[in-house]
Symmetry: D2
Subunit: 421 residues, 4 copies
């Protein structure tokens, strides 16, 4: 693997935590060149909610390729695209009463977020998007402005424009974020002008698995309506079943105006993204936002299979919720081992804030030594984050958690409590 | 196909010109649901330089999928990635004496451009990127600032920052663009501060197939060096063999500092992009620019096959150059049919400026009626653009050109010359 | 006065509240063309702290003009400038232990603020200035970005850059602004990057006479030092004796790094401004910030007289403080007449929040009918603001307050309490 | 004068070229503390077009002050303001058929420019102002963006927004600036969007005394009308008689939409500025752009005297034109002494480009030794600039020119020609 040091940019990152060469993946199991197997609690940062290489998706994709199905079709009509759109409408949109249009953006989350930000500004004629502390929305200049991480922001090399930052629910002790936003918007001399949109992750993936309440999301929607702004729910990491239902905001009695989706949307981890748009906001002119790879044809094939396999009834959601309960119980127990630690997140998007990045990093490193791929999250990398495939067998989920627990026990034996670090 | 009107965003575009449903592609031939065949002179806007569904790429990809090869691996090491990097180094970089590092960006051209712009700003500590009239670099906010098209820029919904615009070579009658840029940079009161970089397409794809000369590119490189700036050659549409050699600037005695690649890089039209970085400029910190889909694993497989199949010797380049000569001859003849028309472009990136968007649109529509998929280009859509697969059989290339010629002849019969339109 | 409607821009404002033509001013008394006299509780928005036409300043200025003293000297050395600088150093800076340099900016407050913002950015290499809700700092694009008022901001016609807004002390119920700022700065993923400076009015003049505590200002200074930022105290309206001492922050154990001064600095209401700069921050190159009218020569003459007359001992400050006590007592009594009303401000920068702009406007209009020039302040113009000359005779101060009280009594007779408006 | 080193900011500039302390000024003569007299060829950078301390202005101002006339009146109606407006309308606007409204901005040129830029953006709903190479418009952030000088721009400490730069007429050899601007505006993919306004100095004061032709200004006006933009003529340095007529663009058959005025507007060098606004563009809301010192009352008095004394017939303009002819002849002769040198400017705004800043600086320094106050101009400070009061006696003008000629002769004796420097 010397070629990586020789020829890949220093910007590479995950490979530094997991310095092996992976060769195979099947559901929650990764295999490296030496044949060693790993449990995958990272799942492509939630891009592999259905695990690696689902056999039905594989079969459909191989069939498509074998038959010279279109691999690249710009945004032209194809049979694969037709089938995906019809399935998405039938299985996802209609049952949830959603009138949203589907905008095929470039196949990355950041592109879907950029499209949402552009559309919100275009529709409202306003510049400012309100984003939240610890938010993560992407690396291109529009989305990067909405991303909180100082290091990543600095990578932009110039000032980032068009975003005002507010505390996420619960981010500041003693500050009722919603009340503060409302007070500032109601004060015509606050210097905080009415925004084009609120852009929020219902559960913050990179920012430490902070989960917004239904009250908070509904409150934002109310403020958005009051001030002529839009609500953008970035469900890129939290959506596609990660918290149980298809969208993370289901059951909260709130309907976002724009919904960027990516990561697990293709089902198989292929690059694919889309923006759901409230139909009256779909004021784009043809090609006003375009891109070569919008509408990945291979992803249409696998995404359709995923929708048909997992979302035509509530079986999968219930299975996820059952696993989430188990995960919550186990992680609570693990958190209890560490003085000051606390459980974070929601559904199968869970982690433990262990108090410092140093501790969390040490725990993850120890896990990897024992065959578990797992990463940290949070402003200080202080959260040990579990993003297992939703399809992981229960026994393997338990096995992975055992590895975490052992790593924690080993770490805390002989260490001082968090408060003293 | 009613689902498109019902559920796809108004932003869709190419499908409006070609209102059929494609189901198969093989080299330069597309097939629609009704079984009708089309010659493809659009080739995914140069994303399919090797045609649709190359059999060797297909086989390798099916093999990879069948064997549970990694489909999504973030930026971790995988066998597919190792093989791609080693092959790219061996077949492309080393023979051309290029020390560049490969940065895996998100799998779209705009992401590679954004990474280049960010890096240029980070390295130089300057904000401004010089871009050129009629340039097209992408739709996310950083790249959009560098894109010339007013309609697309307006889609951003807010002011775009960090870009100064200069005339592309030959864009303004009587203006020596290089001399003007130099004079402005030499004048400390010009208000045109030394930039972070010059960002240029060696041949402008969307902007009307304008081709920069070696003198112009070398001149920019000289100015870049004189003023501590970088030269970014956006070879997304013009690279990967489109003009003959792998890079469009080969043989011009100029080496860009940063080179965004995308479109045909995967070989098979899969979403894939990379940024080549002069090694001393690779000052990124780990993860400073990241993204879920950087390094598309399936694309690693097909891209490697493409490199091995087409670039280990100069056979393919010579074939392309031969076809380009034929294309130039035929298009010159066609241009001669239209008063005032002129040939544009270079290599297999060629077109005819027919004087107006109305004429060009009518010609392309007539072509499609006769089974040819072809599009316009240029600020006023005034160029009929030929972007056939480089692998197109000569007979089929001739057949497509016959269709164009017939459409032109039919159009000009009974119309007044261009000047009077 | 028909010429105003015919030829002056619609942007004119104060003349709309006081539709008479003033011809003379002497201390706190204005006279109109008809010979009617008015008590001046506006005092040029605190530009006339020493009243109109102080006889000693008049005499010195007439003497200067008569003797062909320099009226305009760019920033060249003149006897008037030398005398001013020496006096300012001797009377103001040295006794307060201030090492600050004096930067002669353009003769307006906004220019002094712009100079401070530019210098803070230049020194720190950072873009962002933290400004506060309800702040007012000027109308040119740099200062306007820091001004809170939405209407004035909209007048800029484009997005305003480089400012992040935080709640002023006490602006948001239940929000400890200082704690929130600190928490956001301590969180590397907050999206709130370390700023170049905090820009604050110790007492907000236009924003509703909100007064920051010593704890708050000291806290900002501590945060500034902790994060490598500067503290800019905009003492344009609150300085030059308005709150008692020369600077509004005296006695608070906090020393700002940059202090914009204007308004009453000339003593006689002539255009004059300066920026005080901590000497190690005086990194300007010669002429890096320049301007034709920086250093108004006539103002040097009158400002020197003012310093010598009022600030060589503490007599004037004590007189001001005595008047401020009287003012506070009287305004408290007046506030008590209005259900829900409350006293605002500090020193001789006082007012009553009467609950609505409608009420405050009606009170001020009634006052003017009875010969008192007085204006409102606050985000909703809800504060009746008293900015009498500090030199006003006590009897006249009482007389003006009697007019306010009468207006309030007349207003509330027959009206419902505030809460019901 | 030790206080300057001790207490004035390093930013001070002119005093470095003229290290004496001036005490008196009368018409074109300055006197220093030691009683030495100087001829003033700088005239407050054109702020003293009527010389120092005009006796009629002095008398009127002393009379005003003696009678307790209003010194500071915000933007309230006063007798001095009424008289100024009526006189300005009668003497300047009506005879020239100008319907413009007068907007009282803060009393500096930069403030008048900022008001113009804001209004142009507000009226058109567009961000971009086109400014020109070597332009100088002020130091506050809005105007600074339009200023060309790199050093001054860098003083802003952050990116400057909202301005696109084009070559001034003749700035680039072989480039027809007007044709290029038109071509770029006509190209919808040029990336040069239709601007809010063109902002131009008819004669560039700081930028090297470049004078635009009537054709160029009319061409800009035509382009402005074609593209819905405004023409802003910054006549701050070139207006108020400096080129002969009151406005520098008189006799050119072009009427700007917005005209910032300052410098000599007060007549006596007092801080005073105004923006003339085509009446249908006067869409400001009351106080939308405000400021404490807009409408300097003392300046109203002296400005009115100046208008009545110099502009009620064409005597003064003809005298200026006669002096300008003499100046042109003498400077042409001087230029002929220096190989490669050339005459710059128009009217009484004239200079000689001597080929380098070093030469120009040396000439000016030698002049000062012989009692002439004179400065350089231009991107490289390469122009020796004559800005004598228009009221200078002819003999004194000749005397000053003799000093320049002697300095030039002394400089070139023993030096090599320009080309070799």
């Amino acid at each position: 693997m010397a070629v990586y040091a020789r020829r890949e940019s220093q910007v590479r990152s995950y490979c530094r935590s997991f310095p092996v060469e992976f060769t195979k993946g099947r559901n929650a199991t990764l295999t490296d060149r030496a044949g060693r197997e790993y449990i995958d609690f990272l799942a492509g940062c939630s891009s592999l909610n259905y695990g690696h290489n689902d056999p039905d998706m594989k079969a459909a994709l191989i069939d498509h390729i074998t038959g010279d199905g279109i691999a690249h079709g710009l945004d032209m009509h194809t049979d694969a695209k037709t089938a995906f759109l019809e399935t998405f409408e039938r299985v996802i949109l209609r049952p949830r009463g959603m009138e949203h249009k589907v905008m095929m953006t470039g196949p990355t989350g950041t592109n879907a977020v950029e499209a949402a930000m552009k559309l919100a500004r275009k529709v409202t004629g306003r510049d400012t998007i309100v984003a939240f502390t610890n938010g993560f929305h992407g690396m291109t200049m529009g989305a990067l402005a909405a991303t909180g991480n100082a290091g990543k922001r600095a990578g932009g090399g110039m000032a980032l424009h068009g975003v005002v930052r507010m505390p996420y629910e619960g981010a500041m002790d003693g500050v009722d974020s919603l009340a503060m936003i409302e007070a500032m918007l109601d004060n015509p001399s606050s210097g905080f002008d009415a925004p084009a949109a609120f852009l929020i992750e219902p559960v913050q993936g990179e920012g430490g698995l902070n989960a917004a309440s239904a009250d908070f999301l509904r409150g934002l929607k109310r403020l958005a309506e009051k001030h002529g702004a839009l609500l953008i729910a970035d469900d890129i990491q939290s959506g596609i079943g990660r918290t149980g239902p298809f969208f993370s905001f289901e059951g909260m009695d709130v309907m976002p105006d724009l919904i960027p989706l990516a990561k697990s949307l293709s089902g198989m981890g292929l690059p694919f993204a889309a923006l759901l748009v409230r139909p009256d906001l779909d004021v784009w002119k043809p090609a006003e936002h375009n891109g070569t790879f919008r509408g990945n044809q291979h992803a249409f094939v696998t995404a359709r299979v995923a929708l048909e396999k997992f979302w035509t009834d509530d079986t999968f959601q219930k299975q996820t919720e059952a696993k989430a309960e188990f995960l919550e119980r186990r992680l609570s127990d693990i958190a209890a081992l560490i003085p000051g630690a606390r459980l974070k997140g929601r559904g199968m998007m869970r982690g433990v804030d262990v108090g410092s990045g140093e501790t969390a990093g040490a725990i993850c490193a120890a896990c990897f030594e024992h065959g578990l791929v797992i990463e940290t999250s949070g402003a200080h990398d202080e959260v040990v984050k579990v993003l297992a495939p939703l399809t992981i067998p229960e026994a393997q989920l338990a096995q992975g958690l055992d590895i975490i627990e052992a790593a924690v026990r080993s770490r805390i034996a002989g260490t001082t409590p968090i408060a003293a670090e």
